[in-house]
Symmetry: C2
Subunit: 425 residues, 2 copies
């Protein structure tokens, strides 16, 4: 049934039917959540072995003789740098290992650039109004950091190959107040888009008017594949090195969605120049991060293959959930062109676009009957989705049987909101 | 032998004797370190049981039903707040649990006040030159944070009862650019002085010209006793509440010197006002800290008595080390008034004052023959000890037999530097 082809009478009839479905769901007093990219209990259980690898008898001495139990080693233990170098796509000497949160490292670096400037340049806070580019839809926590520091967020539309690079190039070559961009280059949040080789090359070759322009390359889903033929992301550091722009990218990843969210390890990959500055800065802030947890991760995974095998287990749990939601959307909206959605081959989200003007309504309708979604507008800076159309679904947390109800509930809410909109218009 | 009473000939003769001792020590090719308050391997072993309390079979669900393995709980698990409330001297609802480093929380808060201001006031960065008071001798990492943010550090002399409060009161009531003070109120670093009740009361009653004045109360050695009759520190939050100044103190502690340095848990105790602001700020920076490590600490210590018993074991290891160094100093400088030193009943340091103009020389002489001490001037802002007299000794790390050599080596270096100085003059 294509809503767009229905007469007013047919719309009214369909609305009655859908409202009836909606009331039935309401009667179930649901308590479901597809709001955040939260791993399920099953996924967490995959990493429980991490709690066994160190015990009171363990030798916690590193290859270089240093003791993980004591103070020292600001930038992380060499063993974990080696393990994650291929994930970050840099040499192990180009890695800074932080605490449990890559978001926190991003925040710290922006805070540092605000008060002290990118090395060699004026503090951002003394440069008047400054701006960041934000590929949209995007990640709300990136936008929140910018809002916190009063950095203006300029939305840049996403394409199937990453941010619209024509727009990016035009903006950075005409506006010297644009100081950076937040990117989730692989399995982007929320669309699951992986930047094309050309996009990465164009990023590395950008001629920015701002000499202190930095790319925050948040590779949160570096190998969080959902397919046998995973996406390939070109190595930005290699490309930047070719172009002499190696100080431009700051590459982030963490184990939050590999081991335990909140009790994982976060990484920064960067040029030696950037790394030295950032280490100097952190040396004022802390004596060092949790090396025991770093060691725990090394002992648990052993090597890169151990990491890959572990990710396969995540995939085995996640893939059926994504399939279920996508199949439900396909079935419920078969030949009904009032919705479009992504079919990601990796990452944590499905991005849905409903009829303009309907997203807030859909989210409220879901909320009313016990299904929590990310707040409307979350995927745009300042929470403003001008079209009021984009909704991010996170299928990871609910169990499959719950997810089935959640996905159906979502579809009913979309239908109801769409029908109301069509009947208004 | 009192050097100050010797003739020139006697000084020359003694110098020959001491130089001979110094050369003997040099021949031993020592590699000793009394630089930092680093727990010994024996002390670290006290906490190895912490690595056993959680394993792959553990239930990591909290009393309130939340899962420590997943995202969430920005401000720390309630269980650990309850455990450490008596250490911080605040209610558990007044606690923010951070990562592994209290220094890092101090840094973050100062950074936040710089860019955003104490709530209700202009950002510190927009207030022109601002200043902090620094009781001296003090902790170099506090001074480093101030230097990083270009906050002028004003030294305030320490007395036996804490900072000279006459000076503190005069300064804060005449200079509105003084925005804060760093205090180590119990077993101060490096002197081991505990602030008297009167000092704490005067802090709580300060009439500061700056309305956005904050006390950074770094209670790093809250119950790190070395005696059966531990020092008592008056509860600053209670006193401030009496005076309506409860938004003034920010109270810090961590388990760095209780369990594992770098893999412990850090805490902030503050008024609800301060806490709400700081939580809002951290909610932009991170989703949350390592709750599994928080849970590990709770399960390991069980309750406050568990903590106290654990601290007794630390004391059993540390006390003989402090005794050894202090006895060596007493013996070597019996009736020789060229040195004064503290005899702390808690904390991690012995503070030594050598003859003015000799500290750098002593530290260099030690370094030359393989004994590393904290750099000269470390206990003063900008590394400038005008008298060139104060040296901080940290007896915790070396084993007793090493410490004996280290303490003796230090004494010989002090004697040599003093003799050279006396012969110059």
């Amino acid at each position: 049934m294509n809503y767009l082809a229905l007469s007013k009478n047919e719309l009214v009839k369909e609305k009655t039917r859908i409202l009836n479905e909606y009331e039935k769901l309401k009667a179930l007093k649901l308590n479901l959540n597809m709001a955040r990219g939260k791993p399920s209990v099953e996924q967490l259980n995959l990493s429980r072995g991490l709690l066994d690898v160190l015990n009171s008898d363990s030798c916690c001495t590193l290859k270089d003789g240093k003791d993980c139990l004591n103070y020292g080693i600001l930038d992380g233990i060499p063993e974990i740098k080696e393990l994650f170098a291929p994930v970050l796509g840099v040499e192990s000497g180009q890695i800074f290992v932080g605490g449990n949160s890559s978001l926190s490292i991003m925040f710290d670096i922006i805070s540092f650039f605000m008060t002290h400037g990118v090395p060699g340049f004026k503090p951002w806070i003394n440069q008047g109004k400054i701006k960041f580019l934000c590929p949209c839809p995007g990640y709300d926590r990136h936008f929140a950091i910018l809002a916190h520091f009063n950095i203006e967020a300029i939305p840049v539309p996403m394409t199937n190959t990453g941010p619209d690079m024509d727009i990016v190039e035009t903006l950075v070559t005409t506006d010297p107040t644009i100081k950076g961009i937040f990117c989730v280059p692989k399995y982007s949040n929320p669309q699951g888009i992986t930047y094309s080789d050309e996009t990465v090359k164009r990023f590395s070759a950008l001629s920015t008017l701002a000499p202190d322009f930095r790319i925050f390359w948040d590779n949160a889903y570096a190998f969080h594949d959902l397919s046998d033929t995973p996406a390939h992301l070109l190595n930005i550091m290699d490309e930047c090195q070719k172009n002499g722009t190696q100080d431009r990218p700051l590459i982030f990843c963490s184990t939050s969605k590999i081991t335990f969210p909140g009790a994982g390890v976060a990484f920064l990959g960067a040029s030696k120049n950037n790394l030295n500055t950032i280490k100097d800065f952190y040396s004022v802030k802390t004596i060092g991060f949790d090396k025991i947890n770093q060691l725990r991760h090394v002992r648990y995974f052993k090597d890169y293959n151990g990491l890959l095998n572990h990710m396969k287990k995540h995939r085995d749990i996640l893939k059926p959930k994504f399939d279920l939601v996508i199949n439900t959307l396909k079935e419920e909206f078969f030949e009904n062109n009032v919705i479009s959605f992504t079919e990601p081959i990796g990452g944590y989200f499905i991005s849905v676009d409903v009829m303009p003007g309907c997203a807030k309504k859909v989210i409220a309708l879901c909320k009313n009957i016990g299904l929590t979604l990310t707040y409307a507008g979350a995927t745009f800076p300042y929470g403003i989705d001008k079209k009021d159309s984009n909704i991010r679904l996170a299928p990871s947390y609910p169990a499959l049987n719950e997810l089935q109800v959640a996905a159906y509930t979502f579809c009913i809410a979309v239908k109801l909101a769409t029908l109301e909109k069509l009947l208004e218009g």
